[in-house]
C-alpha cells in the first residue's frame, strides 16, 4: 500500500483554532504502525492543541486539513468514534473521575465478563507497577502524578489502541516511573506494532522510547524533522530564535 491509504495515522495540513484564534497553521505528519515520533517544542507552541484536535476535544476546532486513520478520514467524527478507530490520548493533565473506578471503566470499554476484565486489569496493573488496590478506587482521584501516568498507560495497554498520542507523559514522573511507563510503551510498539506520537520537553523519555523521528514544533507547525540525534541536540542548544507562540 502507498499514499494516503497506507496504514498510518496521517495528519494532512491540519489547521485548528481555539476560541476563534488559529493555533495550528498546517501540520503534516505520518506515523506508521510500530513507529515512534517525538514532538518537541517550546511552551505555547501548540503541542497540546495538536493532541486535542486529533482526538476531537470540544473547543478545538479543525478549520482545515484532514486526520486519517489507516486511510479513513476521521476529521468529522466524534471523539468516541475516533477512539474506536484506534486513537488513544494520554493527556498532559489526566482528568479525575469521581465515583467511577477503573473496574467500572474497563467493564464499559471492554464489554467482556467482569471476571475477565478484573484479571486483565490486575495483570496489567502489576506489570506497570500500579498498586492493584487502586483499581477499585475512583479513576485518578487523589492519585500522585506517577500513579496517574501509570494508570493511563495501563489503559492504553488494555483498551486495544493502535495509535497513541502521549502529551508529556513524562511530566511529573520520577526516574523509576518514567522508566516503567516508557518501557511498557516501547514494548507495545514492538510487540503490538502501535504507532506513537510522543510530545515531550526532555530527551530522557526518548532514551527509553527510542523515536524513529523527532519533530520540532514552533508556532503551530513542524519546523524541523530529524532522527533521534535531534533530541539530543535540542536539549543542548535549545529551540533558539522564533520558537515560541506567535
Amino acid at each position: 500500500m502507498s499514499g494516503s491509504d497506507a496504514k498510518a495515522l496521517r495528519l494532512e495540513g491540519l489547521r485548528a483554532e481555539v476560541v476563534g484564534k488559529e493555533i495550528l497553521h498546517g501540520v503534516d505528519l505520518v506515523i506508521r504502525p510500530g513507529e515512534v515520533h517525538a514532538i518537541m517544542g517550546p511552551n505555547g507552541s501548540g503541542k497540546t492543541t495538536l493532541a486535542s484536535a486529533v482526538m476531537g476535544k470540544p473547543g478545538y476546532k479543525v478549520t482545515g486539513g484532514r486526520i486519517l486513520v489507516d486511510g479513513e478520514d476521521v476529521t468529522g467524527l466524534p471523539t468516541h468514534e475516533r477512539a474506536r478507530k484506534g486513537l488513544f490520548l494520554i493527556s498532559q493533565y489526566p482528568a479525575e473521575l469521581p465515583g467511577v473506578s477503573f473496574v467500572d471503566l474497563a467493564e464499559q470499554v471492554l464489554d467482556r465478563e467482569p471476571a475477565v476484565v478484573g484479571s486483565t486489569l490486575v495483570a496489567e496493573a502489576e506489570r506497570i507497577g500500579l498498586k492493584p488496590e487502586l483499581l477499585g478506587r475512583s479513576v485518578n482521584v487523589g492519585f500522585s502524578g506517577g500513579e496517574k501516568k501509570r494508570a493511563e498507560t495501563m489503559q492504553l495497554a488494555i483498551f486495544g489502541a493502535r495509535y497513541a498520542v502521549l502529551d508529556e507523559l513524562d511530566s511529573g514522573l520520577d526516574i523509576d516511573a518514567l522508566r516503567d511507563v516508557a518501557r511498557r510503551i516501547a514494548e507495545m510498539v514492538r510487540a503490538e506494532g502501535i504507532g506513537v506520537l510522543a510530545i515531550t520537553h526532555y530527551s530522557r523519555l526518548l532514551q527509553e522510547l527510542k523515536p524513529d523521528k523527532v519533530h520540532v514544533f514552533a508556532a503551530g507547525r513542524v519546523v524541523r524533522s530529524g532522527g533521534p540525534e535531534l533530541a539530543v541536540e535540542l536539549e543542548r542548544t535549545g529551540y533558539g530564535e522564533g520558537g515560541g507562540a506567535d
Binding site: P58, T79, H80, L97
Partner: protein, 446 residues
C-alpha cells in the same frame, strides 16, 4: 390609581380536610376546619398532650408562604386549590408471621430483620423472632417525651396535631435492632397521609432504619414525620428512600436528637413527587455526638425536590458532616437550603456542609443556599455549594476511551452520586438507590 386594601376572603379547597382562607390584606393564610379533625379517641395522655401542644403552636404558625426564607423557591402555594381529606381511622397493627413483601423492591426485603408496612388505618408488621425491638401504635405505647423541641415546621405541626397514624419503635438499651424497614403507602386518591414515627434507640443500642415512601396515589399529600432519639453511645443508620408517584405533594420531616457519643448516619434518597420536600434536623445534644448526613436526589420532568437542613450543635466536641448531591433534568427544579448553628457551649465542634448539583438540561434549575450561624469559638466549620452542568472534561475523557456520549453521561452521573453512597453498610439499599438513579437516567435518554 391606588386601591384601598380591603379584606377579601377567598375560599380555597381544603388541605388535609381544612379550608384555607386567604386574607389579601395581610397575605396570610389561616385554617378553618372543613371536616372534623381526628378525635384521637382512646389515646393515652402523652399523645393527647402532644396533639394539643401542636394545635396551640399551629395556631401561631401561618400557612407557609414563599416570602418566608425557609419556604423560598418552594411550591407550597400550589397547594392552594387542592383538596385532600384527612385520615379518620385509628391506627391498628396486625402482626404477621412472614415478611409482608408484596410489591416491595426485593432489595429492601432482603435486608430486613423486621418489615413493617404502614398504611392509613391498619398496618402490618413482621418482627423477626429474635428481634429485640418493639413496634406499636401510639395508642398502646407508654409515654415518649421529647428531649428537644423541633422547629415549628407547619406540616410537622399539622401532622402532629391531626394525623391518626402515630407509631412508636423502641430498641432497648444495649440491643442490636438490626435492619428495620418501614414502608409507607397511600393508595387512595385525594387523601392525605401523615404517618408519624417516634423512634427511641436506647443507650449503646444499634439500629438501621430504612423508610421507604412507596409509589401510591398520584393526587395525594404525604407528610411523614420521623422523630429519632438516640441515647448515649447508640449507633443509628437511617435511610429514607422517596419513590412517590409523580403527582404527589410531600413534606417530610426528620428530626434526630443525639446523646453523648451517639453516632448517626442519615441518608435521604429522593426521586418522586411533583413537589417533595424534606426538612431534616440533626440536634447534636450530647458531648461528642457524630452525624453523617447525606442525600442523593434526582428530579426530572417538572418536579421540584426541596431540602431544608439544620445541623444544630449543642454539645461540645460534636461533629456533623453533610453531603447533599442532586441532579436536575427536564424543567425540574431542586432547592437546597441548609443551616449550621453552633450554640454557646458547643466548643470544639466540627460542622461541614456541602451541596453539589448537576444541571442536566437548559430548562432545569438548582438553588443552593448554605448558611452558618456560629456562636462559639474554637470550632471548625465549612460550607461549599456548587451548581453546574456535567464537567465536559469528564465526558471527553470517557469518550476518548470509546464510550458513546449517552453512556458517558450516565457514567459521570452515577459516579457523582457514588460519593454519597460510599460507606453505607446496606448493599441492597445502595443497589436500590443506584437503580432509581439509573431509571432516571434512562428516562432522560428517551
Amino acid at each position: 390609581m391606588t386601591e384601598i386594601p380591603t379584606i377579601v376572603v377567598v375560599k380555597i379547597a381544603p388541605i388535609g380536610g381544612f379550608e384555607v382562607a386567604v386574607s389579601a390584606e395581610k397575605v396570610m393564610l389561616g385554617f378553618e376546619p372543613a371536616q372534623a379533625p381526628y378525635a384521637g379517641a382512646g389515646e393515652p395522655e402523652w399523645v393527647r398532650e402532644r396533639r394539643e401542644s401542636a394545635q396551640v403552636q399551629l395556631g401561631k404558625v401561618p400557612f407557609p408562604r414563599t416570602t418566608e426564607e425557609i419556604w423560598r423557591y418552594s411550591r407550597v402555594e400550589e397547594l392552594e386549590g387542592k383538596g385532600f381529606s384527612l385520615g379518620q381511622a385509628a391506627p391498628a397493627l396486625e402482626t404477621v408471621a412472614d415478611p409482608p413483601a408484596d410489591g416491595l423492591p426485593g432489595g429492601l426485603v432482603a435486608e430486613a430483620a423486621c418489615l413493617i408496612r404502614v398504611r392509613p388505618g391498619t398496618s402490618r408488621a413482621f418482627i423477626g423472632t429474635s428481634s429485640p425491638v418493639t413496634f406499636m401504635p401510639a395508642t398502646q405505647a407508654p409515654a415518649s417525651p421529647r428531649e428537644i423541641e423541633s422547629g415549628s415546621d407547619f406540616f410537622r405541626l399539622f401532622a402532629e396535631a391531626y394525623s391518626p397514624d402515630l407509631y412508636v419503635l423502641r430498641i432497648p438499651a444495649g440491643a442490636d435492632g438490626g435492619t428495620i424497614v418501614v414502608a409507607y403507602e397511600q393508595p387512595d386518591e385525594d387523601v392525605s397521609f401523615m404517618p408519624q414515627l417516634v423512634v427511641e434507640v436506647g443507650e449503646a443500642a444499634r439500629l438501621k432504619l430504612v423508610e421507604y415512601l412507596a409509589p401510591g396515589a398520584d393526587r395525594t399529600f404525604v407528610a411523614p414525620n420521623a422523630e429519632i432519639r438516640a441515647g448515649k453511645d447508640a449507633h443509628v443508620g437511617h435511610y429514607q428512600i422517596q419513590a412517590l408517584a409523580g403527582g404527589a405533594y410531600a413534606s417530610a420531616f426528620v428530626s434526630h436528637s443525639l446523646g453523648e457519643r451517639a453516632k448517626l448516619d442519615f441518608g435521604s434518597f429522593a426521586f418522586g413527587g411533583h413537589y417533595a420536600r424534606l426538612r431534616l434536623e440533626a440536634h447534636l445534644v450530647g458531648e461528642g455526638a457524630r452525624a453523617e448526613l447525606r442525600a442523593a436526589y434526582f428530579a426530572d420532568g417538572d418536579q421540584m425536590l426541596d431540602f431544608r437542613t439544620h445541623q444544630d450543635h449543642h454539645g461540645p466536641g460534636a461533629y456533623s458532616n453533610l453531603l447533599f448531591k442532586g441532579a436536575v433534568g427536564g424543567t425540574s427544579h431542586s432547592v437546597y437550603s441548609g443551616l449550621v448553628t453552633i450554640e454557646e457551649g458547643a466548643i470544639r465542634s466540627d460542622a461541614y456542609q456541602t451541596n453539589r448539583n448537576l444541571v442536566l438540561s437548559d430548562g432545569a434549575r438548582a438553588d443552593s443556599v448554605p448558611n452558618l450561624d456560629i456562636r462559639e469559638n474554637s470550632v471548625r466549620c465549612s460550607h461549599a455549594s456548587a451548581v453546574g452542568p456535567i464537567d465536559e472534561e469528564l465526558l471527553f475523557y470517557l469518550e476518548s476511551r470509546g464510550i458513546d456520549p449517552a453512556d458517558a453521561e450516565r457514567i459521570v452521573v452515577r459516579g457523582f452520586f457514588g460519593e454519597v453512597l460510599e460507606g453505607i453498610d446496606l448493599p441492597e439499599v445502595v443497589g436500590l438507590v443506584q437503580s432509581l438513579v439509573d431509571a432516571r437516567l434512562g428516562a432522560l435518554a428517551e
